[in-house]
Chain length 335, copies 2
DNA sequence: GTGAAAGCGCTAACAA
DNA sequence: TTGTTAGCGCTTTCAC
């Protein structure tokens, strides 16, 4: 990489002259500016990012900690963050906590050494189970703002971007009740997560309000249970189930495929709605009716919030929580 | 963040003494070392990463450029890269090219200002279509090593990690021929990609060698065609098709679900094999027989190669290409 | 055993 | 209009 020093030497001027010329300072003579810029162009000069970071005490870099990159929603949020960050000239350093509290702590620690100006993160499963929040508080007290999304720690004072999980599942369940479904099953693969619990509560509320059936909940143990087998044997034993709301895409897809496999007509005899993405909806015939999370918008919002906060000096402005509304996209797995 | 300066002041010693004490230099007295370390601990001192980067002219950061984070394979490779990088104390800055040549160029440019020590990337679709490689060559000539994976530019001299796409599809097709399938269809959603083309060639070779049918190829235009409709109408018009090999997971899942929807018995009358991940295989009943790419291993290998290259001074050692073998995981969508 | 000083690349206040 | 200098935080050589 070419440095100012080298340019200065070759041009026979001082370093600061070169610096000013390149920054279009009024101070420098026209002719000098031209000469400097020409040489800089020739050598493809780029100001060294590290030096700038040191000088400005700002890295223009956001640390993103994601529990699991294979989760479509999380991946999409990452995409949203990256897009928005790039628009504002920020880079993102990505760490994957792999749902581990320890890795999450480490990543936070490791990047809090001047590598990033702030964090965007979704809380790891283990962290939610153990309900640990000290590491978040410590990071914030070090002056590094955090924005949490999707899976958030409510007891940490920071900006948040969440989804209306409760309402979404409440509404989805109600729409099935409107279809006159008599025995609606809630299936979930994510019951240890805050969002999973919210979704279950939304389902419960709708069912209890309606008052015609007891809540019927099937929880899959991630990694342990054979997803297909559990759902199949449950549906076989509970023949009166005529609809499924699923807290995650896999549960929805498998439930629908299993229903068909058991000879049920979808959506005539059996309806399915699931939290899932567009491409997931193509993985069943008929196509799956989905609750869409607008994950990219979540990422964009999170990035905007963080960038705004990092730019104002007094970082102690009130924290905000943005709720990104879901929407139901009707396909042929419901009436 | 606490700095050496602050510690030095508080302890009434010089900055260099503190620095040496923390780095366990022999020069410093036992007692001093103890006092310094104590205070550093108390204040949770961490050496400033940016200052170190500037000093050492090394960032310990890898730039990763991925075309599409929603692609499971690419996401999984990213996971592998992150895991291996973290193990060696490297961070990764992730850019998403979104299959765009322009964004790819920009990301490369933007990070080549001292932000990273090297790159790991998979070539964007547009880049492969236009066959542009100058930006890669330029980056390498600036002294920043590149490791390409999966979708590589063969004419660029750099380390590569690829998959045995050709052989994998050749073998998959042959295994269907062994099942006595008479009319095997190749379906692909990724025909503009180098890997898509390799897979098609593998299929062609197997079919032509066998000599009993003509190659039968169905190419889906990504984003344009309705994936389900195209496959369904094709299978309806070509009733003799009794097996599908798919170059991508969606095509495989949809083909299988469609076959079932058309009343075919899988795997009795109809077989499907697809390039897909484990979780994809659960999205069909019967479960999909898949060609697995060991994406995480690809990422790990790429990271190792890059780190090795960055650590040796004379970066002009011969370039290598690692081939990560696929494996076929038999499920119930084949005999 | 401890400290002063230089230097990584850059910007900006100040001097000339 | 141009140059000198200090300083961001750190390591390291060289003096003391």
């Amino acid at each position: 990489m070419v440095t100012l020093k080298q340019l200065a030497k070759e041009l026979g001027v001082s370093i600061s002259t070169v610096s000013k010329a390149l920054n279009n300072s009024e101070e420098i003579g026209e002719e000098t500016v031209r000469r400097v810029k020409e040489l800089a162009e020739l050598y493809n000069y780029k100001p060294n990012k590290v030096a700038l970071s040191l000088k400005n005490n700002k890295t223009k870099t956001i640390g993103v900690i994601i529990p699991n990159i294979l989760n479509r929603i999380l991946a999409k949020v990452l995409f949203g963050i990256e897009t928005e960050a790039a628009k504002h000239g920020y880079n993102i350093i990505t760490c994957i906590s792999n749902e581990s509290l320890e890795k999450e702590k480490q990543s936070l620690q490791l990047l809090a050494n001047g590598s990033v100006d702030g964090f965007i993160l979704s809380v790891a499963e283990e962290t939610q189970i153990k309900n640990e929040i000290e590491h978040f508080k410590k990071t914030i007290s070090q002056g590094l703002p955090i924005v949490m999304f999707d899976r958030v720690a409510h007891d940490v004072m920071c900006d948040k971007v969440i989804v209306d999980d409760f309402d979404a599942m409440y509404n989805a369940t109600k729409s099935l009740l409107l279809e006159k479904r008599k025995n609606i099953l809630f299936v979930s693969n994510i019951n240890d997560l805050s969002v999973g619990k919210l979704r279950e509560r939304g389902y419960n509320k709708a069912i209890l309000e309606h008052g015609k059936q007891e809540p019927l909940v099937l929880k899959i143990k991630k990694g342990k249970d054979d997803h297909q087998k559990v759902i199949k044997s449950f549906l076989k034993k509970n023949r009166t189930v005529d609809a499924v709301v699923a807290a995650d895409s896999s549960s929805g897809i498998i439930a629908l495929n299993t229903a068909i496999n058991l000879g049920l007509k979808v959506p005539k005899d059996f309806s399915v709605i699931a939290f899932a993405s567009k491409s997931d909806s193509h993985h069943t015939i008929p196509k799956l009716t989905t609750i869409r999370q607008h994950a990219k918008a979540i990422g964009v919002n999170a990035a905007q919030m963080l960038i705004t906060r990092m730019q104002k000096e007094h970082a102690n402005a009130d924290v905000k929580t943005i709720i990104v509304k879901t929407s139901i996209v009707k396909n042929k797995s419901t009436l």
